[in-house]
Symmetry: C2
Subunit: 350 residues, 2 copies
DNA sequence: ATGAAAGCGCTAACAC
DNA sequence: GTGTTAGCGCTTTCAT
């Protein structure tokens, strides 16, 4: 087994350079510009450090300056699930987080412990492991954000309401996305438009449902509560949600599925019933995951700039960490309607 | 802004319990079974800690016992790329890593710094931030594994040859996967089978190419070097790779694409040329990513147990961390051939 | 311009 | 059984 040789310490560098550990420290991290070091000794320290391939110990440094140069990520996972990154949404967000954090010289620690409740779980984040925590899409019913806020560590969030907690956040502009969908469908002549949402305790569900209703009435289309149903973002239950809608006295001519997994489920169910998409039923998704372009027919959907959202939230968190004055804005990133082949003029042959 | 109140320290707990910090420490982490603590004081310490919601400082603990309860993950990304987790392969592996690490009470730190070379980059991993590093699918040409090995920190790897470096690793059984593909195709009567690999500097490419050739000859099919070509695992270049093969004097009747992204590219290119899949050309992928089932036609492919691979490698790393005696085995996990509709008997109408 | 010394919060020898 | 005393490796006043 390769020997675990003790890494060189600052003292080793100092000794080799013939200076005190303090001087070595000052040289090595450029701080304390007031107390300057002579060019000669500076060079001696630098070369000693280079010779030893000296790397400062993150733990010691963290202890001393209460800064770890790491941010924590907490994924909002459904209760009982341990699914962190297998869905493209989370993966895309994480990618953006990694990029922004990397650019800022921070590493990213993913918290794997399950969230229980604020009382139990929140204090765990005072362990000093990270300089702040980024919370990704927590269920709206969980007390994660509020709990973390009481702990007093720098926070930022993705895809959840956080303004009243004074927490900065980033998300896709759900309202704009839904508006684009409804406008597109209305322009195609659809007036009986159904919506299938994800979990009802997700903040995106509330936002999208509300925007759906608002835009509909703004477009002069009557809102029919009978055409609102839900399943889960995983796509489980999409079939029965579709069947429920399809068995209504007055069937919808278009369905807005709140993500692509749900839309894919609907497409599958429709096909097995011989319902033609888009001739008999227009279908729109949300997210524009890679599969959206691959399914039959290719899905009209709303693209979320996932990586940008992740990066934006990360930058906000880093801002909070850098200085307490960082504002608690909610940054909404523009979605893009991608029109493919799952939507067409109502009643058209195609 | 929420105040950053100073978290309670072990001393606070000790004071509240009326004991020394040492006693508090012993109680709180059950260690030092030789020096036992009276039940009375134990309870006093415990309740004091609970009252304060005491959480040990990870940095201080790490410094003192040189253990961080965190493992590091280093993604092998192509030079110049910053794509960590946007592809389903990496996401699946990471998911497995998170689960296994979480079960063991370790958090996962993703290293975002770019790998330069062993001399420059390897020492950075001596920063004491993690107890060990898991290297995921590094390019075979990079000196990552060898470099890290010289640093003397616990290591494990995914999807790369690591045995001669005495590093434990996990991967799909590439040979078995390729054998399943070739056997399937041969059983369908194919004798002109082409292969399109990913990047030539990936260890999987070498393994799959070799297994391809071996199995072919074992099946009594002549190996034709003209039917071997490559592009990138991202799928970029798949079209021209396909065109190259399709312009050969003797066209292949089947193509084995070394991952699903490549296969999807081939399918697209074939369709735009009016080449029918599977009637005119059988197509097999690798990985079984979610899109594989969605493309037209649904793809016959080899499923990799990504999460299991990630978990297995993580457990090995944890084994290394726990005790130096952990063996450097290469664990190969069984793939599964998923037969869908992109393959059929050669020359058949379907 | 440089060094001495204290301390970050915790664990681990070693007394008593 | 419990307290005392050193560190872990680094940063940071404060002297000099």
């Amino acid at each position: 087994m390769t020997e675990q040789k003790r890494p060189p310490t600052l003292l080793d560098v100092a000794r080799d350079a013939g200076v005190s550990s303090n001087t070595a420290s000052v040289v090595l991290n450029g701080s304390r510009s007031n107390t300057r070091v002579s060019e000669a000794t500076r060079q001696r320290v630098l070369s000693a450090a280079a010779n030893l391939s000296y790397v400062p110990n993150a733990m010691a440094r963290g202890l001393a300056q209460k800064r770890t140069q790491a941010i924590g990520v907490l994924f909002g996972v459904a209760a009982g699930s341990t699914d962190y990154v297998t869905n493209p949404y989370m993966a895309g967000i994480l990618q953006g987080v990694l990029e922004a954090a990397g650019d800022a010289g921070h590493s990213v620690t993913i918290y794997t412990q399950r969230w229980v409740n604020a009382k139990v779980s929140a204090p765990l984040f005072r362990d000093g492991r990270t300089d702040g925590v980024l919370v990704i899409a927590p269920p709206a019913t969980a007390d994660i954000l509020a709990g973390l806020a009481t702990v007093g560590i720098p926070l930022a969030a993705v895809a959840c309401e956080a303004a009243e907690l004074e927490i900065p956040s980033a998300d896709v502009d759900n309202k704009a996305g839904v508006e684009a969908v409804v406008t597109h469908l209305a322009a195609l002549g659809h007036t009986r438009i159904a919506i299938i949402t994800g979990e009802t305790d997700m903040s995106s569900t509330a936002l999208r449902t509300l925007a759906f209703q608002t835009t509909l009435t703004a477009a002069g289309i009557e809102f029919d509560a009978d055409l609102v149903t839900s399943c889960t973002y995983s796509g489980a239950g999409a079939e029965s949600a579709f069947l429920g809608l399809w068995n209504r006295q007055q069937r919808p001519t278009a369905i807005f599925a709140c993500n692509d997994a749900i839309a894919a489920g609907v497409a599958r169910a429709a096909r097995s019933l011989g319902v033609g998409i888009p001739e008999e039923l227009s279908l729109v998704g949300f997210d524009d995951v890679p599969t959206a372009a691959m399914v039959t027919p290719p899905l009209t959907t709303v693209r979320q700039p996932l990586q940008m959202i992740g990066s934006a939230a990360t930058k906000m968190l880093l801002g909070r960490i850098a200085g307490d004055f960082y504002p608690a804005t909610a940054q909404l990133l523009a979605p893009e309607l991608i029109v493919r082949e799952s939507t067409c003029r109502v009643g058209s042959d195609r």
